[in-house]
Symmetry: D2
Subunit: 374 residues, 4 copies
């Protein structure tokens, strides 16, 4: 987390029912529209991203409704689990955890649903467990091509601020995000944007909403008056984080993430390792999942890196636990912190006796030099 | 908020999936048992207290079940609203907002429920809007006397750390709390303790749980491994707050709150004002709601205090909006910060031209001197 | 210390040789001119106020030179001690520690110095140990009336930001200040303003200057380039403190201090105690020293207050150790924090069994009500 | 600065005249003895290191006394300037700014001083401007061999915590240090240790001491009662910094610095550049000064690095301004932050079109891998 954000979070707390806090909070919601590229209100819930998933179901669906879930990795799988927990039927399009959403199969599945049982397509924009980014406009086009009424839900938890994302232009119905990735904040807040079509679905939805009712959250987005006691220090951190992103400029933020991601891939390639993501146009700007050679335990390698260089690499999750390790390049990072991380990996590969080519660090420097010098 | 807590919250974040965080988090849950006086696990959700209310419903009830709600003020009313939002029937025992739960009426209502439709009694321990504390053991006795199977839910959001509260000894089935009052933290975490009987009810409950599923939260209380991304900085603050309370000693914490509350009431009495709470044994240790003379707008008075002395008094809520103002004496306060506040009120009464007797501040000093000198 | 200042001081450090820091530092020096009411550069040394005393001697005097010291209390005495340590002769005008500088005696002493041995008059603007403020323009007039060439040195360590102080208009030659009082900062920085006449004296002064050489400090005040490694975090705190004072407006800052001081004196009077300061026009806006009745140990009383109410009162120093205790009302204080303090004193007087009249707190409230209501 | 130190510095301030602060401060001085390897008290002044230089002169010398100054770089030159400002004669042994103190020449100069005019030898342990560390025991031996009474003053401002330093065992008379390097603190405190012989010299010294009087500072080192208002927040930071060093263990701290220094030199060598330090046994653990090829402006290069990679490299100073740039590896650094820095330099060399060999980063990784893997 950036120092600016940490400091902001430790400011003494404003009275959350006072006019000063409400105008402060309303201004944040207004500025969040720029990040989500929308004219719709940005709802904030004091919850993790899972809470925002659940809110989307409660507000737009009824028990027994179905959702279409293209499986792309661990987090899309958890999304399906939450849907089932809410009493929904999950129709899954199985995936290989190495590529993004297959828009053709989405279209096919929707066409097959002549009864209109499917109420939403659950699209994970960036799958954190695999480092694969899916093509959301293609999913939108698939829904349209099928002539199906299903809503398009998009989870942007690990894509926001790493790569371009446009709620309105891309025809998304529900965009879901969390505070702990691109916003460089601790976890604790979730964000939701709903289209007019999604809001219309609220009227006929019968799942109980309670805590996750969108209606007061939409009001709060407008007037800053929260129906619950808002997590004030998180709002302070959010204010600072949004300012930092807007000061850098979203185009520059995306370019920085793209550069760091390319440099990481250059290193992975040079080491002779395989990227978990197999399609070049789907490689993630936010995280790279690296497959270890057969017979090498990725978790043992991560332990060695932690032990020798005090650096935490992200673990493989679910089906790829022990198979991949992940280098995150999302959020508060720059060229030199990335080079420190890549150096740590290259040195550790040697120390661990894992067969690899030298030159990953050199390849990354080559790429960054060209990008920065351009 | 205490400086110690603010500093703790701005510490750099541990990796929440690492072993260091999990043992840190498990230790907090263990220490929380001392505050809730229980052997049961203390579940932590990243939500406001409303989320914990909802969790209790989802985990123990089914659509159409009924709850018995003794109305004691604004927050008990909101609790009923959440129950209705979850599809439950709310059987209300109307109250006057000036006294606590009438255990006799609880017994009566339960006896009348021969069909056993009522699944829980919703008891607000300290009603923040009125400054009235209810006798929870009496409610327990009433349920027992009625021979009814209903669970006893107790909201301790504004009583914990202000007054004695004992989950196990008092036979509570679900204790619910939040981070923003006695814990001296920002809002953002809720706490839940469930009895064995409440846990047994989970099996037959059919409301969808999802985000609010108790099962993984109970596991996390044991091993510190959270099913969601935990709000790490809040956990740091919680660690510090729990340490501060245990260092002072809970008996001393209660005695301090009782002393400050008595001094406040002595001032109110001397000014010739009425306490919203009418029964001496129910006066709150956490907050005192003061009724303004007829024809005096409490909110106009609060504005004057804010304007002249930069002090925020709490507003009257719901039925007593504009009628009462409230002086909080919960959390990080001592004799002299209270005297500052009471002086501000007494001076403002004069400045506002509100008819009152002088001598409130003197009466409070008299009481504190005796208590401190004892 | 205000939260704003504490936060500012914990910002990550700028490179102190970089252009960003130098323009930041130069801007602070420029803004400090507004507080010292001067067009001359404001020099900053990383030292306590004692260092600034010494700097003034080194830069303007030669071994064996004399200074005229009107004794007003403990700090003026220490100033003389520093002068002697630097090899200067100190001609003292003895004082009673209860009144300010007697301008008539200054004039007299200067007239008696026909040889012109006296190079400076050392005037303490506010004597912290006694709560007495001296009339600096009167001292200036005395020097002029004597037709003497002596420089006028004024120590404003505890007067700056509490009461009006004007380097240029009042004809001061060297104004000396420190960071730890009116600036609401930790100790660690000293401030010096020198008149053209004082700067001219540098040429003939032969005391060794070294660390305390004014010349590079004057350059640094202009360009922000410090000859030594500057205490960067102190500069951040200073920036914030200066902003806070200028935002409130110096006239408002003075009025607030005057009001709190008057309220304190009203309480002292009502208790039946004597103010160490005996002349009404010299009562300090910054601190009030209160004489205990004969036979009462002020330090024992201070211990009781600390023990019972966790409040530190300032001790009597030097000749009045054990005789007075002091209530500071300088810096980051408002009406209600003062009322908390006065309440703590009044309650403790009772607990200590010290004979006094009740009603000090009431008298202070009366005064503040009138001032705030005006 | 480490987060732990920043947090410590923003703690609310203890009353500096209270018993809690004095025992806290005395404990710090006691622990500092372990870092200076001494049984003598460690004096703390609120000043930069320059102040400690001056204090050493004032307390042990008289006007006209001479000091012997082996010139090793910019900071030794400034030391001589301070001596001259204090009215001392400076006998300089000219140096090439690329090697350390020539003990033979020290012996020679002392032998030539049959009149005993030289009162002290001023030895800079680590010269920050050149990255050269001198052999202090050799200087001690030279003084002894000459049979001269001169005191041995050692400036350890940039060597403490980077490399072994032993006040008592090495026979140092006055050790001088500052807070802003190995202590990882902001500038603002200086440290002094005096031998019995140095303390004996105080009696006959006639330079005015004032602010820099050792006597009260020695008392304060013992009882924590400071003669001036101590910079409390700096003391908090110092406490934390000393704890961090002692927790890591001084041997480990030295080993870490040695490893990072070696890796840096491996990179410099691989790039084909020259180290400003020409003798292998004198290469600094704290900083490496790198000579640019003829015709290349080191400052233009530093600007490019700042601009492209947001990294501040230290400038060449004095005679080597524009000729060298410096990589600091002192204080709060680890293998990966160093690798980030070296990568930034290597990429920038390419971007700047400066002729160099590739492979510096690889060479550094090679060295670190071997050291860490050992």
């Amino acid at each position: 987390m950036p120092d600016r954000v940490l400091k902001a979070m430790s400011m003494p707390l404003l009275d959350h029912r006072g006019p000063q806090f409400s105008s402060f909070a309303a201004k944040i919601s207004a500025d969040l529209k720029k990040l989500f590229r929308t004219q719709q209100p940005v709802m904030i819930f004091p919850s993790s991203g899972t809470g925002a998933w659940q809110a989307a179901f409660c507000n737009t669906m009824s028990p027994g409704d179905a959702v279409l879930l293209p499986e792309v990795g661990m987090f899309s799988t958890l999304w399906g689990k939450n849907a089932r927990a809410m009493g929904l039927e999950v129709i899954e399009i199985p995936g290989d955890w190495r590529s993004g959403i297959d828009a053709g199969k989405v279209e096919e599945a929707l066409k097959a649903d002549s009864a209109g049982k499917i109420k939403a397509v659950l699209a994970t924009h960036n799958e954190t467990s695999t480092g694969v980014t899916s093509d959301i406009p293609a999913v939108r086009a698939a829904i349209d091509a099928a002539g199906h009424e299903a809503l398009l839900f998009v989870d942007t938890i690990s894509s926001l601020a790493a790569t371009d994302m446009r709620h309105d232009d891309w025809g998304i119905d529900v965009t879901i995000c969390g505070s702990q990735k691109g916003f460089m904040l601790p976890p604790g807040l979730s964000f939701t944007v709903a289209s007019q079509k999604a809001l219309a679905a609220v009227e006929s939805a019968t799942l109980p909403k309670g805590y996750f009712d969108w209606a007061p959250a939409i009001e709060a987005a407008g007037n800053g008056l929260y129906p619950y006691t808002p997590p004030v220090s998180m709002f302070y951190g959010l204010r600072e984080a949004v300012d930092m992103l807007l000061e850098e400029g979203m185009e520059n933020v995306f370019a920085r993430h793209a550069r760091l991601a390319s440099a990481t891939r250059a290193a992975v390639s040079a080491w002779g390792f395989e990227n978990q993501s197999i399609n070049a146009h789907e490689h993630s700007n936010a995280v790279t999942a690296i497959r270890m050679p057969d017979g090498v335990d990725a978790d043992a390698f991560r332990s060695l890196v932690l032990n020798k260089f005090d650096m935490s690499l992200a673990a493989g999750l679910g089906k790829v636990a022990g198979v991949v390790f992940r280098i995150g390049h999302l959020g508060y990072q720059n060229d030199l912190t990335l080079m420190g991380a890549l150096s740590g990996v290259e040195m550790s590969l040697g120390l661990a006796g894992i067969k690899h080519e030298k030159g990953g660090v050199d390849a990354a420097m080559q790429l960054l030099s060209e990008a920065v010098g351009a």
